[in-house]
């Protein structure tokens, strides 16, 4: 980058990206309230970004870049309406309002409604008329401010696929006349559950990638954590939002210790706990305390956070309170019965009561057939058999687990373990 003009254009591009990251949810939300359509709002905001990339290198970055982008996007909306000669009185009034307020640096938003706008944006992005794939893509795009390329990279799908998902999602929302509003009180728990589910899915995809060469993509999990923290500010009276934040904080605290320099997974008992992020652990504990203070108990995410907290607060692996973890898994299993939770409970039981008791739980799971094809079932069974001294059977299980996993890093670890058993 020897050319100073190119260098400054690149600097402005990065600056625009940073501003977009910080302001995009508010900009799109504000616009969506004006134009009544999230898809159109997002398109207008993107056009304003293109203008910024052209004008800021020449004119300098405005004092309030977010306000600038919003004002430019609104003008574009009005221009569009004018071009299509569909100026009804409402639009005319809006245009007048904008024309008389020519200072593009003046904040265009009303601070009292902004947070509500962003919350509406979250609910629209996770609206039940959209498929889960579309909810995830739209949330990362319009609430998180990630580019299509970033989302594609994170989920290992072609950029065109993500683009298509987003375009279709916007069309679906328009066609279904989804209103730009916070759901009614009686609908709120269900709709929030859907929002939590989307963030949980994003976090987990980063935490243990379901496929590909990398075992985890922490930046994706950290984005989910950021969005969850943000959501907890928008709906602070909802207990589970704090449970969700706590879970993410605890899990994220281990990122620095979960892989070696080469990207090899390091499993929980082997992790260097001095590398766990104490700040995030403290934040997780604080979030759980906030949930408990609301006095309505812990739900699905809060219980999982409680388990993560047991790990996070044990100074050494040997100090882990496995009995408490077993109880929390039992509570979780009653709240949301799932064979995966039973499998995790079996692991906890193997630590508190020994591998023989745990093997009985795992064998029941095998017999039920409910987890057939899930690589962690033979993986856990192999570990238990190994601890019981049944090496030959253990090796067979680990090899089966290696065949079933779609993650290359995990496969290598399983095969190495199997080979070590003679």
């Amino acid at each position: 980058m020897d050319d100073p003009v190119a260098a400054s254009a690149e600097a402005v591009r990065r600056r625009v990206a940073a501003v977009w990251r910080i302001e995009s949810a508010r900009i799109v939300a504000t616009l969506a309230r004006y134009v009544g359509d999230v898809g159109l709002a997002e398109d207008l905001a993107q056009e304003a970004v293109v203008d910024a990339l052209r004008q800021w290198p020449r004119d300098g970055v405005p004092a309030s870049p977010g306000a600038w982008l919003t004002a430019v996007a609104k003008r574009k909306a009005i221009d569009g309406w004018r071009r299509r000669e569909r100026l009804d009185e409402r639009y005319a009034a809006m245009a007048h309002d904008l024309d008389t307020r020519t200072d593009p640096n003046a904040p265009p938003w009303d601070p009292d409604t902004i947070d509500d706008d962003v919350l509406r944006l979250v609910f629209i992005s996770c609206h039940p008329v959209l498929a889960r794939d579309a909810q995830v893509a739209l949330t990362l795009r319009v609430v998180g401010g990630l580019s299509t390329e970033e989302i594609a990279r994170a989920f290992l799908v072609p950029t065109a696929t993500v683009q298509q998902r987003i375009v279709r999602a916007k069309k679906t929302l328009s066609a279904a006349h989804v209103p730009f509003e916070v759901p009614a009180r009686e609908e709120l728990p269900d709709r929030l559950a859907s929002v939590f589910g989307v963030l949980y899915l994003i976090f987990n995809e980063g935490y243990a990638a379901s496929a590909g060469d990398e075992w985890m993509r922490p930046e994706l999990s950290l984005e989910a954590l950021r969005l969850a923290r943000s959501l907890s500010r928008l709906v602070p009276r909802e207990p589970e939002v704090h449970g969700l934040v706590a879970l993410f904080e605890f899990q994220a605290s281990r990122f620095g210790a979960r892989t070696t320099e080469d990207g090899e997974p390091v499993l929980l008992p082997d992790q260097d706990r001095t590398r766990w992020d104490r700040t995030l652990i403290a934040r997780g504990t604080a979030a759980l305390a906030r949930q408990d203070a609301l006095g309505r108990g812990r739900g699905y995410y809060g219980l999982q956070a409680g388990i993560a907290e047991c790990h996070a607060t044990a100074a050494r692996a040997a100090d882990t309170d496995w009995e408490r973890i077993v109880l929390l898994y039992e509570a979780l299993g009653r709240l949301a019965p799932s064979p995966v939770i039973d499998l995790n409970r079996a692991v906890a039981v193997s630590m508190s009561e020994g591998p023989a008791t745990a093997l009985r739980i795992v064998d029941e799971l095998v017999a039920s057939g409910r987890l057939s094809g899930y690589h962690l079932l033979p993986s856990v069974r192999g570990e238990l058999l190994d601890r019981l001294g049944r090496a030959a059977e253990a090796r067979e299980e680990l090899q089966m687990a290696a065949r079933l996993t779609r993650n290359e890093r995990e496969r290598a670890v399983l095969l190495r373990k199997a080979d070590a058993l003679t």
Binding site: R14, R15, V19, L225, R226, A257, D262, R275, T279, R283
Partner: protein, 142 residues
């Protein structure tokens, strides 16, 4: 990635700052902190008490000398910090430049090191290997 914003001021800035009504200072900083929290990027942050309460341990001699504050020759005072979790250096700078500070104050933006910053033959890695070996032995003893 994490960045630390380090707040620095000189004596004059601190004096000028003391002229501003405390309520106003608290309100402006409060709004700034709230925007960081609402965006989900604030990992930690603390202010520091007056430098006169501070102590400096100086390693230019052995054993180190300990000096009470305030420190005569110091040109800059370290007043507080934020730890932000952001996606880029530019994002950290963007947040830093929105901080309500006045002339004479500076914010230094520094990246917090990550595991990937350390070379493979680093003592951290060796320490981990030892630790894993210990854990394996402990497991075998169970």
């Amino acid at each position: 990635m994490k960045y630390m914003l380090i707040m620095r001021s000189n004596d004059e800035a601190v004096e000028a700052y003391n002229e501003i009504p405390f309520e106003q200072v608290i309100e402006q900083m409060g709004r700034y902190n709230e925007s960081l929290i609402n965006a989900g990027v604030m990992a930690a942050g603390e202010g520091l008490t007056d430098a006169s309460e501070g102590v400096v341990v100086d390693f230019s001699s052995q054993p180190p000398t300990v000096t009470d504050g305030p420190y005569g020759e110091t040109k800059e005072l370290f007043n507080g910090f934020w730890i932000l979790q952001v996606s880029s250096r530019e994002e950290a700078i963007e947040w830093a430049s929105r901080c309500p500070l006045s002339p004479g104050s500076k914010l230094e933006v520094r990246r917090v090191t990550e595991l990937s910053d350390f070379p493979q033959d680093n003592e951290w890695i060796q320490k981990e290997a030892e630790w894993i070996a210990d854990a394996e032995r402990a497991k075998a003893d169970e």
